[in-house]
Structures are given as C-alpha cells and as structure tokens.
C-alpha cells in the first residue's frame, strides 16, 4: 500500500503539474463556465461536476490500463487513436454545449440549472460532467507523468490512490476559476463564451481528425 511518502510525492507532483493542467483544461473550462449562468454557487457546482468527472476519467483509465499492463507501455498507434477519438468527442460536446447554452437562454433563462446535453434536461447528461470526463481521458502530459510513477507501485489500489492524491494536487489550481462566477452574464459575455467554445471545438476536431486519419500532425 502506498505510504505517506509516496502520497506526499503524489501531492507535490500534482501541485507542480497544476499550471500544465490549467493550460490543458483551460480552453474547455473557461468558456464553458462563462457560458453558464452567473453566481459563485452555480459556478462552484459546475466546476465540482467537471472536476469530479475528470477524476472519474483519470481513475477509469488508470484502472483499465493497470489491468492491461499498459499504463506506460500503451503502443503509440492505439494511444494516438484514443487521443484522436477523445479530441473529436470533446469537440462534439463543446459544440453541443455552445448550442444548448444559447438555446437555453433563448427559451427560459432559469438561473439555477446547469446546461445539459440531451433532449430534455431531466434525461440529459450534465455538460460539465461530459467535458470533465473527456478531459480526464485526454492523456495530457501531467497525467502521463503521474501514470509513469503510479505504474511503479505494487498494486492497482496503490496506483489509484496515487492518482487520487495527484488529482487533488492539480485541482487546487482550479479553485480560482470559481471567481468567474462574479462575471456578470450579459448577452456579450455568454455570446463570446459560446463563440470561443466553437473556435476551440473546431481546433480539437481538426486535431482529432488528423490524428485519426493518420496524417502527420506537426511532422509526427
């Protein structure tokens, strides 16, 4: 079982990786938060859902990869296909969230509901969860670094605990995003956020499709 030294290492690795996590998740989190309704409480709920789903994504991948013995040795081909597919899915979810955010406001701007994906809000998967889960699976560099270390531990439980503590370390850096709840959600702010989501979605879609098509991206 992971001792306190290992767990403190996980926490420090998480804290040190924070800026990279902010950078990789920022394009998804910031505009989607701004497209939501204002309010610290609502934005905290959104961020918590996002981070929780991201955590699930981490743990799921870690558990599956550990069992397959593939935490660090996933071959480049399948790894790139996975990354490509996730980017395309992420793009799709971002576009849908952007559409639904505008549609929801046009219909009835109820102040306390999170934007949902799906035909009706009751059945739909919260957008924050979908985005969080997909970013959790996206194999960003901090995640890979944690994976390398976790793979050296004795058991899948230890690896999962390592990831959990690592995740807490990275999540500290997301706390300031709650402050976006103070930004008044005028038509300007929500429109800008939705347009930004579309632009970022287009970039992720391009990245995902070029990887899936096997084209050399940036020369690789």
């Amino acid at each position: 079982m992971a001792g306190p030294l290992i767990l403190s290492e996980a926490l420090i690795l998480g804290l040190a990786s924070g800026p990279a996590c902010i950078a990789s998740c920022g394009p998804v989190v910031v505009p989607s938060l701004l497209a939501e309704h204002a309010g610290i409480r609502l934005n905290t709920r959104y961020l918590s859902t996002f981070l929780g789903a991201r955590f699930l994504g981490y743990l799921l991948f870690a558990a599956v990869a550990w069992e397959l013995g593939a935490l660090v040795s996933l071959p480049p081909g399948p790894r790139m296909v996975l990354i490509g597919a996730i980017h395309v899915l992420l793009a799709g979810v971002l576009l849908w969230c952007a559409y639904v955010a505008g549609h929801a406001c046009a219909q009835s701007c109820s102040g306390s509901r999170l934007v949902s994906i799906g035909v009706t809000r009751k059945r739909g998967v919260p957008g924050a969860a979908a985005l969080g889960f997909l970013t959790g699976l996206s194999l960003c560099p901090p995640f890979v670094a944690a994976g390398v270390r976790a793979a050296e531990l004795g058991s899948v439980a230890a690896a999962l605990l390592f990831f959990a503590v690592f995740f807490i370390g990275t999540s500290v850096w997301f706390v300031p995003f709650v402050g976006l709840g103070c930004v008044a959600r005028t038509e300007a702010v929500t429109t800008v956020a939705r347009m930004a989501m579309v632009l970022i979605a287009l970039y992720y879609a391009y990245l995902g499709m070029t990887i899936l098509l096997g084209r050399k991206v940036y020369g690789y």
Partner: protein, 163 residues
C-alpha cells in the same frame, strides 16, 4: 470650471505631452523595461543555452542544454548540437559525440556538408545511449528533430526518448 473638467483637461494635456515624449523618452523607456523583464524566447525555437564546447580540430561542437516542451507543445524533448564554423568542416562529417559529458559517446552523427549553402541537409544519428532517438535521413521535420544551416553553423537537434 468644475474640478472634474480641470482634471479632464489636465489629463488631455498630459496625453498630448506624452505624445511628444514618445520618440524621445517613452519608447526607449518601455523598450528597456520590456528587455529588463528577464524574459527569454522559448527554447524550442532558440535551442536552449550552450553548456559545453568540444573542440574537434579546426571546428568545434557546441552542446546545448536539453530542451523540454512546455504545456501541450507537440514537440519532443531534444538536445541541440552546433558544428561551427561550416567552412572548416570536411565534406562528410561522421562523429561520435558525448552529449551528456560523462566521458562515454552517446550518439554518432553523420551528415554531408555541401558546398552550396542552399542544398538541403540530411542527417543520420545512430544511438549508443537509449536516452537519444535515432534519426534516419532526417531533414527539417520539426523543431525537435532537424538539421539546418544557420549562419556559419550546422545545427542538429536530436530528440530525447520520452521517460
């Protein structure tokens, strides 16, 4: 005149005065300010600082500090080696290089040095140390994997294998 108006006109006057100062004072002041911020150009572009020079007859090999990508950059980590001056290089270079300075050769770098500076360069890198990636007839594919001629030096960037 109300105090607010006085303030407004004063600010406007100062703005016009500031415009006069731009070429004689402000431009230079801000330029020096930006230069003094201690910023540096991303090492993925610049190649990182030089850490060692190995003399090899009439030419030398500058070895730079390994560069690691930031955030989600798609470049691989790499190390840059500079052969200079180009005029002192033989027509074909094939050299064992101790990159990490431990006394053991890490890679063998081979490339032709064409007389015409515009001829594209190609490099073969064989690795003796698994920390470095081999390169087969590489040109200038990426910032982290290339051979180029810059001024009077030939630069080779060898990717590092990921941990």
């Amino acid at each position: 005149m109300k105090p607010r108006e006085k303030l407004g006109y004063t600010a406007a006057g100062l703005t016009v005065f500031a415009a006069l100062l731009v070429p004689f004072l402000l431009f230079g002041f801000f330029t020096k300010g930006f230069a003094a911020l201690g910023l540096h150009v991303d090492e993925v572009y610049s190649g990182g600082p030089k850490v060692r020079t190995v003399q090899s007859g009439a030419y030398s090999i500058d070895i730079h500090r390994p560069v690691h990508p930031h955030m989600l950059q798609t470049e691989k980590p790499f190390v840059q080696l500079d052969w200079r001056p180009v005029r002192a290089l033989p027509p074909h270079v094939s050299e064992l290089v101790d990159v990490d300075g431990d006394g053991q050769p890490d890679i063998r770098v081979s490339f032709d040095v064409p007389k015409d500076a515009k001829t594209p360069l190609r490099v073969i890198v064989e690795t003796l140390n698994p920390r470095y990636e081999a390169m087969q007839n590489a040109g200038k594919e990426k910032f982290s994997k290339l051979i180029v001629r810059v001024d009077d030096a030939i630069l080779v960037r060898v990717p590092l294998t990921r941990p």
